[in-house]
């Protein structure tokens, strides 16, 4: 069972699609429940993973390896370790919640919506568990198309501009990454002689710094755009403002984590020397991202773009944690990825709820909602506190670990980054006050119905997570620690080993490789 579980988790959503197609068009409620059923099933199946996850073993678990395109050395290779375990759970969890939350929001082309949603879920899950770089790239690109439709078809007024900008931005980055993947493929070929896309073969590649730098930049750009890091973030506010609620939740909750996941899984282990060289740059961009994101969030007029910029700021924290290159920073970064998924996902759900009631997202149109919607106010308050990282909530543990890790590497960075803590309080509370407090100036805000059962059912699990991670984070940290510590040692070890390599140009490396390979009598069979 251990071998097939990952394939089940990744491809179970696709099972729902034919079911939805067969359902009659006039019965959208059936379609909705079918989609929810599939997502819930996927979540339950994915619960098998943490139950049987062995936190002591830092390596890959539940691995499955099947030949796919053998002649090119491409294998269907999945695997899960401490790093991707919680991201998979986050994906299935958020997908289920966002599907359940858009029952009333999506009215036209209901079937198409849920089908693209399930496709998106498969794409995302695939990215987190794929170990074969080719398979990873297929999922990475595959997940773009449904997202394009989610924003493009069911989006807001400027949806076309937003979705094209989103796809072009990501595509631009990932094409460079594709070139880098192929470069790796041929470097590996010339070094070991065998054809292989296996990530672990690439881990063993002894690349001199001169080559590492270029590949590092290509990968880094693709992930930086996805994170989004400072200069490449302008697609995020547009995409969020125009996306439907469910799309925003998933976009913020999971898609952004692929960038940071990429940092951990690909960037650091593959090119350790280049990583250490670029750490100051990445740190600087992260810090700018934190402060810049927060300042921009403060002046936004639209709640959703405010939350989008807050995501830029939060993920600036995550990348800073990862760049700190020590265990606290990494664990803080990983935990903050989960927290951001939970709190920002919840924020978008809340914004979606008031959007459904008032059909506007401008902060000034709101005011004094607490009077009419007390329960909503309580949820909104809890999530706001979690977002600004109040101790006792999930945000604090992640943020503190990140800042601690950064402090150990460079106190000045930590000092600048900690200002982010103040700024996040400023923009969140200012927004919260303008939306919730004050007297009800606009009559439309008075008679708003409070949360119905469905909306409460969506928010309660998220609040449970906010306090679970806040009060007892060890249940998460314990599982991550093994894999992160192992990866960190691996990166440091390879960095020292490869530092002594003479710096060769591309052609020298390739020819040198071919030179040694020609002695090898027969090309080695691609390693499984």
């Amino acid at each position: 069972m251990d071998a097939q579980i990952l394939s089940w988790v990744v491809f179970l959503p696709l099972v729902g699609i034919p079911v939805i197609l067969l359902l009659p068009k006039q019965r959208p409620d059936l379609v909705k429940w079918a989609a929810l059923g599939t997502a819930a099933a996927d979540f339950l199946v994915s619960l098998y993973l943490p139950a049987n996850f062995d936190s002591a073993n830092p390596g890959m678990q539940f691995t499955v390896t099947l030949p796919w395109i053998e002649s090119f050395g491409i294998y269907y290779r999945l695997g899960l370790d401490g790093i991707s375990l919680f991201l998979v759970l986050l994906t299935t969890f958020l997908s289920m919640l966002s599907i359940y939350s858009t029952f009333s929001a999506i009215t036209e082309k209901v079937k198409g919506f849920y089908i693209s949603f399930l496709l998106l879920q498969t794409g995302m899950l695939g990215v987190f568990v794929a170990l074969d770089v080719f398979l990873f790239y297929v999922f990475w690109e595959g997940m773009l198309i449904p997202m394009y439709f989610l924003i493009g078809v069911w989006g807001g007024p400027r949806k076309i501009y937003a979705t094209i900008k989103f796809v072009l931005f990501t595509m631009f980055g990932s094409l460079l990454m594709l070139v880098a993947i192929l470069a790796l493929y041929f470097l590996n070929r010339s070094a070991t002689g065998g054809y292989s896309f296996n990530l672990f073969d690439f881990y063993q590649l002894a690349l001199p710094l001169s080559i590492q730098v270029w590949l590092f930049l290509a990968f880094a750009l693709a992930f930086a755009i996805k994170v989004p890091m400072f200069p490449f973030h302008t697609w995020l506010p547009d995409a969020h403002v125009e996306a439907p609620t469910a799309g925003s939740v998933i976009l913020a909750g999971v898609l952004l984590k692929m960038g940071t996941y990429g940092f951990l899984r690909f960037l650091f282990p593959l090119f350790p020397n280049a990583t250490f060289q670029f750490i100051p740059l990445l740190a600087a961009l992260s810090i700018i991202g934190i402060i810049y994101g927060a300042l921009m969030a403060m002046v936004q007029k639209d709640v959703k773009s405010l939350v989008a910029f807050s995501s830029v700021s939060h993920l600036g924290f995550v990348t800073l944690g990862l760049v700190a290159m020590n265990l606290q920073g990494w664990q803080g970064g990983m935990l903050q990825m989960l927290n951001h998924g939970v709190s920002t996902g919840a924020l978008f759900l809340l914004v979606g709820m008031i959007y459904e009631r008032r059909h506007t997202r401008l902060i000034d149109d709101f005011g004094g909602l607490t009077k009419g919607m007390p329960i909503f106010a309580v949820f909104f308050m809890i999530i706001t506190l979690s977002s600004i990282g109040l101790p006792g909530t999930n945000g604090f543990v992640g943020e503190f670990l990140i800042l601690l890790g950064t402090f150990r590497t460079n106190p000045v960075w930590a000092a600048f980054a900690t200002t982010g803590v103040i700024l996040s309080a400023v923009y969140m509370l200012w927004m919260f006050q303008r939306v919730m407090f004050g007297e009800v100036k606009n009559p439309a805000n008075a008679g708003l119905p409070d949360l119905n059962f469905r909306e409460k059912a969506v928010l309660v699990p998220l609040v449970v997570f906010v306090f679970w991670i806040g009060i007892y984070p060890n249940s998460f940290l314990k599982n991550m620690e093994g894999s992160l510590a192992d990866l960190l040692n691996q990166v440091n070890r390879r960095e020292t080993v490869l530092r002594s390599l003479p710096s060769q140009s591309w052609s020298e490396f390739l020819s040198a490789g071919r030179g040694t390979r020609s002695q090898a009598a027969v090309p080695v069979k691609p390693s499984p």
Binding site: K165, F169, P231, H233, T234, W235, Y292, L295, M296, M298, V299, Q300, N326, L327, Q328, Q331, G332, G368, T370, K371, L385, L390, P391, G392, F396, V397, F400, L401, L403, L404, F407, R408, P411, A414, A415, T418, T419, V421, I422, A425, V426, L429, W430, Q433, M436, F437, G438, E439, I471, Y472, P473, N474, L477, K478, E481, A485
Partner: protein
């Protein structure tokens, strides 16, 4: 000793019960549950206190750990509580005064629609404050630290319809957050230098920092922690939020902005005295800021017309005293003043509360007066508290303030300048307190007609706590009676094990001490008589006083708020709006959209190539053939 876990647990359970109970919980149940939980916690603290007291002085330090909170590599922090004389004193104050204020609130907040929400927040506050006070490591203290910040935000903005209340809440939280910024960095620096956040571990390794480099680190840590204290205990420059915090209900001001939360900074400085001793520069900074804040706040308090704002500035000023005490090394005096201040300042606020309650919400001194005959109980308790705070002998204020002043005078770092500031502030305190007293209780009633006949004495649920606090304000002083006056200074002895590692302060000669006491008493009476002269004897004199510019300067609080707004807040907001339009939309989006337009222009140019004339296409074909052939033949 394992009961200590229960002390914070009870309030959080109360919060959960009331918070989740919501509508189904009848008001009666809430008014029993809310104060009851805190009362039980107070009894629990008493029990633990006596258990601690039974131990021999040297072992009065027990750490009980509940469960490990965060473990990440060699960084491991657990939820653990520390029971020692200092934390017990604080816990007793928090739960004791807290309980009284809860009981008082039952009456005060009786008809308020948000009754349940109020008690839920109050219980949550008690929980956070207890976590802060009882914690045995910096991270749990930080949790309590921000928890109380959150509760003060919620309670200040309790009447959220009022924009000013919501603004005040937001301002309080953000200014606290600026302080927490320093505190967080301090905690991180502690971890990187000592490898642990547990008080025991940190303070035992502290002497290792006495080297040159070590001292610089110690100074950095202590200053960062002090920045946190400044934010939380409203010292210069981060005090502007406390006067605005008066927007909240009065019991909240009494509990949070007088007795407990604002004293957190003093407690933290006292708790980290081992680090502060290693950094004389930080000690000097604490002392100077304390003294300056004291005199500055007192000066503003002289002219304020809102009864609660006067008390707010008085609190800032008294907190200045406590920091002055800690700065000059007299931590015991600081804590002693903290305790006595908790009693009489809570009493003053509750008294003011019952006055406002009676005048159906009126807070302006100029519209009060002559309440003596209507509210005898409030009148007497208010008089006791005013005497105490002014430093009239035989009352608690006198003993604690005098210790601080003598410590300031005699301590090497102190020097007479600080003592002078202290004495002048003492006289100012006496003046504005009695100004307030005379304006509210004596003379003709300036309230409007229909307000006047509503005036009534507050119900027993409000006056009983006043009396208890009145009693404590009187008795409180004797636990710290100095030897000079025959007392045994019990509190110093009690706190000795905690501050054992303090260098012994020079024993002043009896004569000098009496002289100092005499001067402080004279100064106090000077203030009282001045107030009597201006506000009872000849109100016209007070009128003349209001003309000069000094009065308007003080009335507008040295324009500090306006300066902050102009120098910090609006530039940041305007600047980021400008950056957003110019940079985010302008440059980055400009580049993105620009590249799209560029491609479009190229495409247009490309279109011209296709003219539609078939012969041109044929020409192109032939040209292609010719070129390929040429390549083949000559290539």
């Amino acid at each position: 000793m394992d009961l200590v876990g229960l002390i914070p647990l009870l309030p959080i359970l109360g919060f959960a019960a009331i918070g989740l109970g919501g509508r189904w919980l009848p008001k009666k149940a809430v008014s029993i549950l809310g104060p009851g939980v805190v009362g039980a916690s107070f009894l629990m603290t008493l029990a633990v206190f006596f258990q601690l007291f039974s131990l021999p002085p040297s072992e009065r330090r027990v750490v009980t750990s509940l469960f490990s909170w965060v473990v990440a590599g060699n960084f491991s922090v657990d939820i653990s509580f520390l029971v020692d004389p200092l934390s017990m004193v604080m816990a007793l104050v928090v739960t004791g005064v807290g309980f009284l204020i809860h009981v008082y609130s039952v009456g005060y907040m009786g008809e308020d629609p948000g009754y349940r929400r109020y008690f839920a927040y109050l219980n949550l506050f008690t929980f956070s404050m207890l976590c802060l006070v009882l914690s045995s490591n910096f991270l749990l203290m930080y949790l309590g630290w921000e928890g109380v910040g959150l509760c003060s935000y919620l309670l200040i903005g309790f009447w959220y319809e009022k924009k000013s209340a919501a603004d005040a809440g937001k301002k309080a939280f953000i200014v606290n957050r600026v302080g927490d910024f320093g505190f967080a960095l301090g905690v991180m620096l502690i971890f990187t230098t000592f490898g642990t956040l547990d008080f025991g571990g940190v303070f035992s390794q502290a002497p290792a920092l006495s080297t040159e480099g070590g001292q610089r680190i110690a100074t950095a840590i202590t200053l960062l922690l002090f920045l946190g204290a400044v934010g939380k205990s409203a010292q210069i420059p981060l005090y502007t939020w406390l006067p605005d915090a008066m927007e909240g209900p009065t019991p909240v001001s009494a509990l949070i902005h007088a007795a407990t939360m604002v004293t957190a900074g003093v407690y933290m400085v006292a708790r980290c005295h081992a680090l502060y001793l290693l950094a004389p520069f930080s000690m000097a900074v604490v002392a100077v800021i304390g003294a300056l804040t004291a005199i500055m706040a007192a000066s503003i308090g002289l002219v304020q017309n809102d009864i609660k704002r006067v008390l707010a500035y008085s609190t800032i000023s008294q907190l200045g005293y406590m920091f002055l005490a800690c700065g000059v090394g007299a931590f015991t005096a600081g804590i002693f003043h903290l305790v006595t201040h908790a009693f009489f300042k809570a009493l003053l606020f509750l008294g003011a509360g019952s006055v406002i309650h009676a005048l159906s919400g009126e807070q302006d001194l100029r519209k009060m007066g002559g309440l003596r005959k209507y509210m005898p109980a409030t009148y007497t308790t208010f008089l006791i508290a005013t005497l105490a705070i002014s430093g009239v002998p035989l009352l608690s204020g006198f003993f604690s303030k005098d210790q601080i002043l003598s410590a300031a005078f005699f301590s090497p770092q102190g020097g007479n300048f600080l003592w002078l500031l202290g004495i002048v502030t003492a006289s100012m305190t006496a003046f504005y307190m009695f100004r307030l007293f005379f304006l509210t209780f004596t003379g003709g009633c300036r309230a409007s007609e229909e307000v006047q006949h509503h005036i009534h004495e507050s119900p027993h649920s409000m006056t009983v706590p006043l009396m208890i606090l009145g009693f404590l304000a009187v008795v409180g002083g004797y636990i710290g009676m100095p030897h000079a006056l025959g007392g045994v200074n019990a509190i110093a002895g009690y706190l000795a094990p905690v501050f054992a590692d303090l260098p012994h302060l020079p024993e002043p000669s009896l004569g000098m001490e009496y002289l100092l006491m005499a001067t402080s008493v004279v100064v106090a009476f000077l203030g009282i008589s001045l107030a009597y002269f201006f506000y009872v004897r000849s109100p016209q004199a007070a009128e003349r006083l209001r003309q000069n510019f000094l009065y308007t300067l003080l009335l507008n609080k040295y324009y500090v708020d306006e300066i902050y707004q102009a120098l910090i807040v609006s530039p940041i907001v305007a600047g980021s709006r400008w950056v957003w339009e110019r940079f985010d939309l302008g440059i980055i989006d400009g580049a993105v959209n620009g590249s799209a337009r560029l491609v479009e222009k190229l495409a247009l140019r490309g279109r011209q190539l296709q003219t539609g004339y078939v012969r041109q296409y044929a020409m192109a074909v032939v040209m292609g053939v010719v070129i390929i052939l040429a390549y083949l033949v000559w290539g």
